[in-house]
């Protein structure tokens, strides 16, 4: 059986990739995808811990399902915002959507 540490390391790598994407990308759609990566890393953590620490219960799996649901809802909302942004400014570059300030 693959040890738990491997899952955790994989999860940490995926999460860091997601963080990097969110910080480095300027395209709104790519940022969204990076956020999805971070969420998936979290789901992976849930399932790994559930399987190793308490294999009789499915608590972790339920949480993972919730996370997927939230992620889907979040993407629906965020893509709507991105579309509005694109319609108004003809761009999906977040640097150009900087009018919400003093």
């Amino acid at each position: 059986m693959v040890p738990l540490e491997n899952y955790l390391v994989l999860s940490a790598i995926i999460f860091s990739l997601g963080v990097y994407g969110v910080l480095a990308r300027r395209n709104a759609v790519l940022i969204l995808m990076s956020v999805e990566l971070m969420l998936n890393a979290v789901s992976l953590n849930f399932i790994a811990f559930a399987a190793y620490l308490d294999p009789d219960k499915i608590t972790g799996a339920i949480f993972a399902v919730f996370v997927i649901t939230v992620a889907a809802a979040e993407v629906g909302l965020a893509l709507a915002i991105v579309i509005r942004l694109f319609r108004n400014r003809a761009t999906s570059n977040v640097d150009e959507a900087a009018i919400m300030k003093w």
């Binding site: 977040v94 959507a97 900087a98 009018i99 919400m100 300030k101």
Partner: protein, 633 residues
Amino acid sequence: MGAEQAWLLAAVPAGFFLVLALFGRQLPRGGDYLGVLSIVSAFVLFIVVLVDFLDTPGKLGPVVNSMEWSNVGEFKLRMGTFIDPITITMFGVITIVSVMVNVFSVGYMKGEPRYFWFFAVLQLFVASMLLLVMADNLLLVYIAWELVGVCSFLLIGFYWEKRSATEAAKKAFITTRLGDVGLLIGIILFWRATGTFNIQEIIHAAEQGQIGDTYLFVSIMFVFLGCMGKSAQVPFHVWLPDAMEGPTPVSALIHAATMVVAGVYLTARLLPIFEVADGALLVVTLVGLTTALLTGFMALAQTDIKKVLAYSTVGQLGFMFVALGTGHPAIAIFHLTTHAFFKALLFLGSGSVIHATHHNQEMDKLGGLWRKMPITGTTFFIGSLALAGLPPLAGFWSKDEIFVALNDKWGAWAVLILGFAAVMTAFYTTRLFIRTFMGKPMDEQVHEHTHESGFVMTGPLMFLALLAAVSGLVVFHQVGKGLGFPGGITEFIFLPGEHPHRYHIDWGFAAASLAMATVGIWGAAWMYWGNSLKRSTALAEWNPGVYRMLKSKFYFDELYQAVIDRGVLGFSYLVSWFDRYVVNDTGVDGSAQVTGFTGGVLKYLQTGRVPNYAMAIALGVIGLTVAGLVVRG
């Protein structure tokens, strides 16, 4: 129904007040008949209480009826009525004068705006005044005390369209309030020392020496401050002459016969404490003497007939305090009673004159009214002589009693001062009568249109004139007995523990008293006979400085104005400076400025760029994680 149910006396007028205040506007004639009915029923109740009180076997002991009002922890408050001869006498004075004033008002106030409201407040006043004199504890006294103050305020300011009336109402309220604060402090001090508000228990404690000497003196002086304010003693006298802005029946009832004697009543009620407290009686006497003397001078130069009567009232209240200062409440209450009758008569008489001359109350426009208004003139004549102190009218007997007691207690110096005040009383009273009713009219036009008032006004005048003429005679043992009082009024009212003294004529003092009255009357008659101002003008011009001083009432008002201008306004300026620059500019505006400045600086963190926020979140998470690990160790 007996003396235990005396609370009904206050409850009935209070009920009529509610009816009149709520529905008076809708009632025909403004419900004035309800006002008269209310007072008459109070009077009937008074008779019932009086009969019951005199019939009670035993030695005319007080009738107490109280109930538990509140019970909080250690503290129990009982409130109720305490009926003794002083209360009974006050009941009589209040109800009789109120009946007369109410009937008179029906004629005098006819056609005035807010007619119903006048009668409503009158009922409230009577209810509170009756409550004041029957209360068995100081807290209830204080409540009633403020209630009569409010009624006085409302009635002085009855013509609130007139600026002077509202000013006078304010002045009366604030001036008496100065004293009332003292009264409240005094009540609290007594409560602290004895743990009770009950008057009899406080007196008992004071007599047993349970209260320290200085403490007792200070607290009773605070209470006396309230009495001075309400009874308009120097230096609080300034409000009473101004209170004449109110309708004249109000001046008769509240500012001559009843409310202003509340101070005299309370002092009489607490007199045993004044006797225990060293020097308190001397203070009372000195205040009374000062007031009687100063207001005597002030009344000399007034030309407004109501103002003369107002100063005379203050002076007579001074006489009552002098009587209290001798330790004889009976004499003070006796003078209070006779004074209430003849002064109410004089005020109502002046009201009749004012009504008849279409609101003219300046002597410079009156004169020669006796032929035009024979009933008013005659009754006013009787009232004037009673005030001046001619036998056998009421004022003579009570004043004479004061002189005898004063001589026994404080000696000749006090008698001389008060005697001089009595001479002046006779002088200005005569001046008032001559300049209003005799000689040639000063203003033909006013004289022309004057006519005698109707019966509804002259009736009360005649009844009060009768009382002013004969009420003094109750001082005699036989007369008092004949009326059902065991042993005349001076034996009816006396302090517990004091031996009642039976009245007998002291011929020396009677003669001196008569001489004083005669001197005053002759002096005024010589100076003003035929309503000629030749001699008085010559006198005024002979020493204009003195005349000006009298005319401006010893500059009391100017003094207060200066104190207010300098002291109060100066302090207010300081406070307003503090408010403006410290509270407002530093406290309120300052905090806003700090917030604004900080916001102005911090707003640049709000870049509007999503990556910046994302970076901040990421760094925040890392920072928090590191911090958590470090803390955990």
